[in-house]
Structure formats: C-alpha cells, structure tokens
Amino acid sequence: MEKLYQRYKDRVDFYAVYIREAHPSDGWKADFNERFNIRFEQPKTIGDRKQIASTCGTILGLSMPMLVDEMDDRVNRLYSGFPDRLYLIDRDGKVAYKGGRGPFGYKPRELEQTIIMMLMDDQ
C-alpha cells in the first residue's frame, strides 16, 4: 500500500483508518503474530489504540496519513471495514470501488488498477 500511496498521492488522498484489532492477544490468536512477537491486547482507550496504530505504521513503513477510529468502532461499522478493506471514493463523494471483505478480498493491485482507470476517466 505504501508504494501505491507514493505513486498516486499527488492526485488521490489516502487515509489509513485504524480499526479494532483483528487478532488481539486477549481474543483469538493468530500463530503468525505470536511467532513474530506481535502481541497486543485489544486497546481499551483511544490513547492505547493510537499508540498501537503508531507502532503499526512505523513497523509497516506506512507514511500515509493514519486516522484512528473511535472506540465505539463507528467508522468501521459505517464502512464494514473489519478486518480489512479497501475503498476508492470519487471526487463527488461516491463509492467507485468497494473491495471484498478481508482478508480474501484485500487486493491492493486491484485498487491500483481502479485508481488508474479513474484518473484516465478524469482526463
């Protein structure tokens, strides 16, 4: 995603929306996370969530602006974002691409193709 951001950020605004943890250590664990020592409990406060989000951004090398969802998961619920999902919204505020539900449907390359075609549509 970082590559996509770098490539198109001059024409498209990117926002990472950090939502509730998919596999917190007090919920259902993913061995993958345990193996790499990724262990976070589901954050209890917005401050905790911001801290985890910040760590995530650093480790993943994400430089795009990151927003943090409220603790009531309101934006996650608005957009059905959990566990992960991609959207492209056009200039008029209409949904031009709605990715499938993650993890199966999370396809950055597909998003890129859509961005390219949308930009072509603008010209």
Binding site: F14, E21, W28, S54, Y79, F82, P83, G93, K107, E110
Partner: protein, 295 residues
Amino acid sequence: MYKTGSIRFHGELALLVAALMLSAGFAARAQDSTGSGSPAASATGAGDVPGAGSPQALFSILTKLSPQNMRALGEMLENDWKDRPEWGEEAVAILKGEGMRPGGGWWKAPQKRYDFRWLRERYDADGDGAIKVDELPESIAGREETFRRLDRDLDGKLLLLDFDWYNRSLSTPRAMMTEYMFMRLDVDSNGRISEEEVTSFFKNSDREKLGFLTHEDLFASFDMGIMSGGGGKPMSDAEVVRMFLNGELGTMEAGPELEAQAPDFLLPTIDGERNVRLSEHFGKRPVVLVFGSFT
C-alpha cells in the same frame, strides 16, 4: 418438513432461529462496539446460563446440532429467509459448512465502477477484445508504465484476466492450495511472487538454520491465521460459529454499496494534530480508505 432420526423440523423452527440470529446479530454489534472479542464472558455470571439475546445463547443452541442437522438448518434458512441481509448470507453459509470459503457467504466479489469492460469500451480501437499499449491515449503521462501496472500477467495485452482478482469457489484442494500458498508467499500483496519472497519464506521457515526444511518447519509455516485457526488446526464449525457471533469474522454491517454516497465521518489523525472530515474532500480529490489493524 425434514425428518432426521426421531426429530422432526418444521419451517417454523427455521424462522425462530432466524429471529434468534437477528437478536444475536444486534448483540454481536454491541460487542463490536465495546471492542471486546472475548467469547467466554457470560452476561449473567451465573455459570452456564447465557444472557438473553446474547451470542452465547444462540451459540449454545447451534452447537448442539449434529453436523448434518446444522447443514439442514442452513438449507432451510436459505429457503425461508428471503431477502436476507449480507450477514444473513454468511450465517446461512456457516450453517452449511461454507462459512470460510472465499466466494461463499459474505466473501463476495468487489464492486467496481472501473473494470475491463469499461476499458475495452473506450480504448479497444481495433475491436480485437484486447487493449495494447498504443491503444491507450498518448496524453496519459507515463503511458508505458501505466500500461504495465494494468497488465497483471505482463503479456503485453490487457484482457479480462488482468482485472479478475476475485477468488471464485475454491472447491478443489488444488485451487485451495494455490490460493493459500499465494497468500502465504505474496507478502507485499503485489499479486506476484518474487524470488525474494520465496527465499524469505525459506529463511523464515528454516528455524534451526539447517539449510533445509523439515515437515514440521513447513507445517508451522503454513499458518494462515484466520484461515487455519490457532495452533495450525483447521477451524471447527463451532469455532467459526462462535467467531461469527462475536463479530470476529467481519463487521455485521455491509457498508456503502457501489455508487452510493460515501458516509461522512470525522476522525482524528494518529498524532492528534488535526481532525479529518471526509466530506471536505468532495469536489476536490478522490479518496482511498484503507481499513485495517496491526494484528
């Protein structure tokens, strides 16, 4: 009416379960909102008695069913529960044992305004059903590079294949294996497995640095998280049901559809420096939203 052993099901039972699921769906949303995914907590604290309308109530009922009867119930609901919402699709799929299958339940194809057909309608000058680089307008900056990014298999032609990332039914072991291996190896999610990614997989799997992989190494490495369950075991039906009712498989809400107005929101940036309102971008620039978390 279904007859299974000495038990008879009626259509009414199916509708009762649908009603229970609706209440469990609301309860799951409530759990979603507190951010707690813990399944074990009982609302009453009185031992095995779950709280009314809680996911635990429905869970404890459903898991009493034999696998055959759970599937039968899924089929009844599929029949009787007309116009079910997206989460209802997943509920039915789970009962039928297809809850984690990409392409089944709520794991649907993406919705896109721009697809191959859009491209072909505009740029297939010679009408041969494929787009070549010279058929793209010259006015596009970096036309060759842009073409390459669209050309998924890099064969010099844009065809439907290049735009179809959707995993259809993974019914054969071969299709499933391919899909799992691809997801496991394609660490940067660019749709291609590079030699580096294979080498990196090897190195990470070679835990004892022996220069080769044992059966155990491979088994441990083929942990697909949500697809294989904790401990590398395939997820039992009961686990999938529990996760679903606790909102751990995905958000119960469906989100905005294609061409719908994107719902507005106001959220702080991570450093707290500013608040971003989505609607401020309308009339200015397109917006990409990337939803996710770390784990």
